[in-house]
């Protein structure tokens, strides 16, 4: 439970909450999330909702999370969060993006809600590491949903934006912009978060070009702390053998987004097969 310092509407349906926490400001690492109780004790959205840490100001102790209203929980959170009230959360959870090695050239590739943890990563690197060159590739639906642009511009060396309808930046998917650069082997490490299809695509490209790649996975959660085993994701046991063994029952095991993630090395992830009927 921490006091909410401010609530801002970034665009239609996207809300940012900033709260004060000395502990979080000291401990939070890019890629981590918190599990938020929406609507206090309400049963209308009983389970906690996972939300990434978007910014952590080490000096003012201010933590920011940004979320989109999707269903009952996020709706309730948007309705009830207000300056001076409290946010009930568990965190920071748990694994974070691996810090880039000295002098690395990195890219972040984010789509939609996936951009939030990436901003934290970039701001963290900008403020502590002069040796890193960072490009940001960000995909949005349309001009009206482009948010945090200024922050990303400050935090990255270059920023490339795409929108589905071309109303801002390049028209199309963010992968249209970043894949050629990734294919060219321009980056030592790539960090990606967003729709599964996008992450899979970026991962494959990164692996081919020999770049390291980290993805942030999503899954429905129960406890958020590794006890209920709800948030399973398939992770290769012997990463060198790749995902080709997924189907035969060998080579992978269930790990858990809240306990072993949400950040995983892309080549360890056994991506979902296309839906079967």
């Amino acid at each position: 439970m921490e006091k909410i310092m401010s609530v801002r509407q970034l665009c239609d349906e996207i809300t940012s909450i900033t709260f004060s926490s000395r502990y979080m400001a000291a401990e939070a690492k890019p890629g981590q999330f918190i599990a938020v109780k929406c609507g206090n004790n309400s049963m209308d959205a009983m389970l906690r909702r996972p939300v990434s840490i978007c910014r952590a100001d080490r000096w003012s102790n201010e933590i920011t999370v940004v979320f989109q209203v999707k269903g009952k929980g996020t709706k309730l959170l948007a309705e009830t969060a207000e300056t001076g009230s409290y946010i009930d959360y568990i965190g920071p959870l748990v694994n974070s993006f691996k810090s880039p090695p000295a002098g690395a050239k990195i890219a972040v590739v984010g789509g939609g809600l996936g951009i939030f943890p990436l901003l934290f990563l970039l701001e963290e690197i900008r403020s502590t590491r002069k040796d890193i060159k960072a490009d940001a590739y960000l995909g949005f639906r349309k001009n009206d949903s482009v948010i945090l642009r200024e922050e990303f511009t400050k935090a990255a060396d270059n920023i490339y934006i795409s929108t589905d309808d071309g109303s801002c930046g390049r028209k199309g998917f963010v992968t249209d912009i970043c894949l050629p650069v990734i294919d060219a082997g321009s980056y030592d490490i790539i960090y990606t978060c967003g729709p599964q299809a996008m992450m899979k695509c970026v991962s494959k490209a990164a692996e081919k070009s020999g770049s390291e790649c980290y993805v942030s996975l999503e899954q429905r959660m129960g406890c958020g702390i590794g006890a209920c085993l709800a948030c399973a994701c398939r992770i290769a046991v012997r990463p060198a053998e790749g995902s080709s063994q997924a189907a035969d029952g060998g080579g992978w095991e269930y790990k858990h987004v809240c306990r072993d993630g949400p950040v995983f090395r892309s080549r360890d992830v056994v991506w979902d097969k296309t839906e079967e009927s």
Binding site: K37, M43, A45, M46, L47, R48, K72, I90, Q219, R220, M221, G222, C223, G224, I225, G226, A227, C228, L229, A230, C231, A232, C233, E253, Y254, R259
Partner: protein
């Protein structure tokens, strides 16, 4: 000043220091929660359901939120009983709380085998899970007939001399008959309810939300059903009853104790409030103090029924 009430709970062959038990499958092996609460505060921990061999469990999504409840289909993911014995018992033993090993087998013999493996291990009780609706090979079947409950219970009883709890499924017509079968076959206590079989549908994809299609319902939504079944069971058997299903507060716990539960288990609530068990324990103590009761035992089964017949005609 009134003395602190006696919270000890007699559940048959063993006594717990308090009646609050972390429910199986919702508390991992205690490890995860040990960062959030002091495990020494718990009466007992029922660990994640164990099988003979390690199990991967079901594909995700494994959980869906429903009105005041959740559906889960974890599918008994666990590292297997050997790994539990090697790694988890030593960890749990470092705390002053009872360990309850929850076991599920594919055959009565497998249950027996697991019980045998636990016989000389430092667990305080076995909880026989005849009721998990997720395991595809027979799991559900054991719990829904008095005969197979008896068979499994007897098999475990033969191999295990310690405290034996049989955990019942609510997916039956007559819970009393199931409890009586377990008692007759040698159970020292029964625990209930496990989850109620349910489904949730995504109308956009036109598919069930859970990859496993059906799952088990738990949480506050099931509390009235759980409470009724605990009451029915406590009225039907002589062995202690451990009640659960939707307990979120001390007051919920007291409802179950009044209805006849000697101890209670807390499942889903821990997901939402990691310290739920501790708060519930405090709530029970406060209730006892407020009403001037000296012990949990004093209120166990104290519920007085209304007599509608007298009122009506």
């Amino acid at each position: 000043m009134t003395p602190a009430p006696d919270l000890t709970a007699d559940i048959g062959r063993i006594k717990l220091k308090n009646p609050v038990i972390a429910a199986s499958g919702t508390f991992g092996f205690g490890r995860e929660y040990s960062e959030y609460i002091d495990l020494n505060e718990l009466g007992a921990i029922a660990v994640k359901g164990l099988t003979l061999d390690p199990r991967r469990g079901n594909p995700p999504p494994r959980i869906a939120e429903t009105p005041a409840g959740i559906l889960n289909s974890i599918g008994l993911q666990n590292p297997g009983i050997r790994e539990f014995i090697a790694k988890e018992i030593p960890f749990l033993r470092s705390f002053d709380t009872a360990i309850i090993a929850n076991i599920a087998g594919n055959t009565p013999e497998e249950y027996g085998l697991m019980a045998e493996m636990l016989e000389n291990e430092a667990v305080d009780a076995i909880e026989v899970n005849v009721s998990c609706p997720n395991i595809r090979h027979g799991g559900a079947a054991f719990g829904i007939s008095a005969e197979s409950i008896a068979r499994v219970t007897e098999e475990v009883r033969r191999k295990y001399g310690g405290m034996l709890i049989v955990k019942l499924t609510p997916n039956v017509t007559d819970i009393k008959a199931m409890a009586m079968a377990a008692q007759k076959a040698g159970a020292d206590a029964v625990s209930l309810i496990n989850t109620i079989l349910g489904m949730a549908v995504d109308i956009e994809t036109m598919r069930p939300i859970l990859a496993n299609n059906y799952g088990g319902l738990s949480g506050p939504a099931v509390k009235p059903v759980a409470l009724r079944m605990v009451h029915e069971t406590a009225s039907a058997v002589d062995v202690p009853v451990i009640g659960m299903g939707g307990i979120q507060s001390g007051s919920d716990a007291v409802e179950f104790i009044l209805a006849g539960a000697s101890a209670i288990m807390v499942g889903t609530a821990s997901f939402i409030y990691p310290n739920a068990c501790v708060e519930i324990k405090r709530g029970i103590a406060n209730y006892l103090i407020r009403h001037g009761f000296g012990s949990v035992r004093e209120i166990t089964g104290r519920l007085k029924l209304n007599r509608p017949d007298q009122l009506e005609e």
